[in-house]
């Protein structure tokens, strides 16, 4: 991070016109986007403004899209375009405030062809005034406070020296923003309780800092540090890239005490090892690092100075890598070996992940199939015949397959009972009632009773516009089915999930399990699970790989 002095000297001599503003906006946008995760991680509670970093970044991106092809030289006109774009694209609370800041800025510079120090100071003041007008009862300790800090900081800065140029003012603005952001917990108790600074204010700081970094000629695309949500940390991937000499993986969970300086923390860790990841959730931090053998205790000693350690895990990566290469990827699913006079259960499963879960519950064989890919009677029959037992129970797990299962039962000479599970969660619930040594009919009856213990949700995308059961759905919308009945249409998968859980009165149940489909990324599934957890803090929320096609999620509520 070296400041390119020659570049700054050159820029100081240049006029700041509309095109310069365009480059500054781009720099602010890029830098904010790079650090979006940090801003998102600052949230105190999931609502009211769930994802400040993303919202601000999208708002500024909309503003930039408005000007990116413009050749406008006039500063005022360009600023007007930025304000217009920000207004049209404003997302969330912080986005609306950001658009108001730009509106004030644009108003202050509208008659100016170029930007000088005085105008910039005036523009910061006008930004603040416009932003404050947008609310009856301004809450201090937010982005509003930071805009005030910038305005008064630059005003004082301009007065303190005889000759300042716009770059000096920008430097002062960044410094004032930083100080102001650090003050926010003192003004807003909820921030202090959570031990964070205001996210919107931090976002505004990143925008200005990005502009300054552009002036300095510093990189904009590498984040200083990054913090993930705990559930988004993916150690499996991290492990596949083991560097030479970094033999030990150390994971430490801890609660920092006093002020926790992430940048410094990263700095120290980088001296020790590689593959550094830091995650945060509910005030607990998790640190992940790969270190050489002789340094394996160093990260632990270091973290101990910072706060209370709750858990330490250390693993020898070389040994792990060995294990992995032995049992590479395609881990064959291990089915329960049935004895000749025991009951063997055959299930129809729509995805590899679900098959694995069924296998772990003691299923003897799996037939692949589900919605839109119903297995034939023949497929099911073959599964019956291949089992070394005469007592068989089949779980079709789909209402369209119940019939094929019944036909297979009629054809085979073996003793078969069909437990009419219509969904995967029902099948899983039935498996819990299995007694391999019982009589087929009695056990099947028990398993059938267990079907009603769960509620099933299926989240998918509508393939046509339709109205069923009073729910109207447009083609391409996300829909949620409760036990096969359409209950919710939504704009996004997470909305669909929440809508379903609401309809299923999940509040009154204990366990929510999300099986994510093959079109879903694990990170995305975890992100949605976090949203669900926030909404249903008393329920246990689990995420499992389902691997089913078409359905983004199959949800079980019990």
């Amino acid at each position: 991070m070296a400041v390119n002095t020659a570049r700054v000297q050159k820029l100081r001599k240049r006029q700041i016109d509309g095109q310069s503003l365009k480059r500054l906006v781009e720099a602010g946008m890029t830098w904010l986007r790079t650090n979006q995760q940090i801003v998102n991680a600052l949230n105190v509670f999931p609502v009211p403004d769930g994802d400040t970093g993303t919202n601000m970044s999208l708002t500024l991106t909309a503003a930039y899209n408005e000007i990116k092809d413009s050749g406008e030289k006039h500063l005022g006109k360009m600023a007007n375009l930025v304000a217009k774009g920000a207004l049209m694209g404003a997302r969330g609370n912080s986005g609306v405030i950001l658009s108001q800041l730009w509106r004030g800025f644009a108003r202050a510079v509208q008659d100016h062809e170029t930007l000088d120090a005085e105008t910039l100071v005036k523009a910061f003041a006008e930004s603040r005034d416009t932003a404050y007008k947008g609310v009856v009862r301004p809450v201090e300790g937010t982005i509003l406070t930071v805009s005030k800090g910038i305005a008064s900081g630059t005003e004082a800065g301009l007065a303190s020296a005889a000759k300042r140029d716009a770059i000096d003012i920008l430097e002062i603005a960044v410094k004032s923003a930083d100080e102001s952001v650090k003050q926010t917990p003192e003004l807003l108790p909820v921030l202090k309780q959570a031990g964070v600074v205001d996210s919107g204010g931090k976002g505004l700081f990143f925008i200005l800092e990005g502009m300054l970094r552009h002036v300095y000629g510093e990189a904009l695309d590498t984040p200083l540090i990054s913090v993930h949500a705990l559930s988004a940390m993916n150690f499996e991937n991290a492990m596949q890239e083991v560097e030479e000499g970094q033999d030990y993986e150390v994971v430490v969970d801890f609660f920092p005490q006093g002020e926790f300086d992430l940048a410094k923390f990263y700095g120290r860790l980088e001296e020790m090892g590689t593959s550094i990841q830091v995650g945060e959730g509910d005030g607990m931090y998790r640190m992940h690092i790969h270190v050489p053998l002789e340094k394996r205790y160093e990260p632990i000693d270091y973290v101990m100075e910072l706060g209370t350690i709750t858990k330490v895990a250390m693993e020898n990566l070389l040994a792990q890598m060995d294990d992995i290469s032995k049992s590479t990827q395609q881990q064959p699913i291990k089915f329960n070996a049935v004895e000749p006079n025991q009951i063997g259960v055959v299930v129809v499963s729509p995805g590899a992940g679900l098959s694995r879960i069924f296998a772990s519950l003691g299923v003897a064989a799996v037939v692949a199939g589900g919605q839109t890919m119903n297995p034939s009677t023949q497929d099911i029959l073959a599964a019956f015949e291949n089992l070394p037992t005469d007592k068989i129970i089949i779980l079709p797990n789909n209402k369209n397959i119940v019939m094929a299962a019944n036909q297979a039962k009629d054809v085979t000479v073996k003793q078969v009972a069909v437990v009419p599970s219509r969904t995967v969660p029902q099948g899983l619930a039935a498996m819990l009632a299995l007694q391999p040594d019982g009589e087929v009919d009695a056990v099947a009856e028990k398993m059938t009773k267990a079907l009603s213990a769960v509620k099933t949700g299926e989240i998918t995308v509508a393939t046509r516009t339709v109205e069923i059961d009073g729910v109207s759905v447009k083609d391409g919308q996300v829909i949620a089915l409760l036990d096969g009945k359409l209950v919710v249409s939504a704009g996004s998968v997470e909305e669909g999930c929440l809508g379903f859980l609401d309809k299923a009165s999940a509040m009154e149940h204990e366990i929510i399990t999300l099986f994510y489909g093959q079109d879903m990324q694990r990170n995305e599934a975890n992100r949605i699970a976090d949203i669900v957890r926030a909404k249903y803090p008393k329920q246990e929320v689990e995420v499992q790989e389902g691997g089913q096609p078409h359905y983004q999620f199959i949800i079980s509520v019990e």
Partner: protein, 118 residues
């Protein structure tokens, strides 16, 4: 809902109390410059009775709480985003204070205030 029975007796939370929470949460939402009465008659009644939550109507609908808010928005903000964040903020504050789920929040934008023309 809004009612709870403990061994010592019942707890009843009136719609008016919920409306007050919603009212203050609305005023703290960015982009909202005021609340408006639902209609003239309502406005007169609420002015006379000095209702602390003008512009907010709370109804119990069986088990559910429904809230209706009439707001005035600052001209020049993106109205959609403002209304959406009012809904989020009110829901958050009411649910936090009461521990009850809010079923529905309808936000009506009753008017705009123009504080500057540009």
């Amino acid at each position: 809902m809004g009612e709870d029975t403990t061994s010592l007796g019942g707890i009843h939370i009136s719609p008016g109390a919920i409306a007050t929470i919603a009212y203050h949460a609305t005023l703290e939402s960015y982009g909202v410059v005021g609340l408006a009465p639902k209609n003239i008659a309502d406005g007169i009644v609420k002015s006379i009775t000095r209702d602390p939550a003008r512009g907010v109507t709370v109804r119990y609908n069986g088990e559910d709480i429904d809230i209706e808010i009439h707001i005035i928005v600052e001209y020049g903000t993106r109205i959609n985003s403002v209304a959406e964040s009012v809904g989020n903020t009110v829901r958050f504050h009411v649910e936090k204070a009461l521990g009850l789920r809010v079923n529905k929040i309808d936000v009506h934008v009753a008017g705009l205030r123009i504080s500057d023309s540009d």
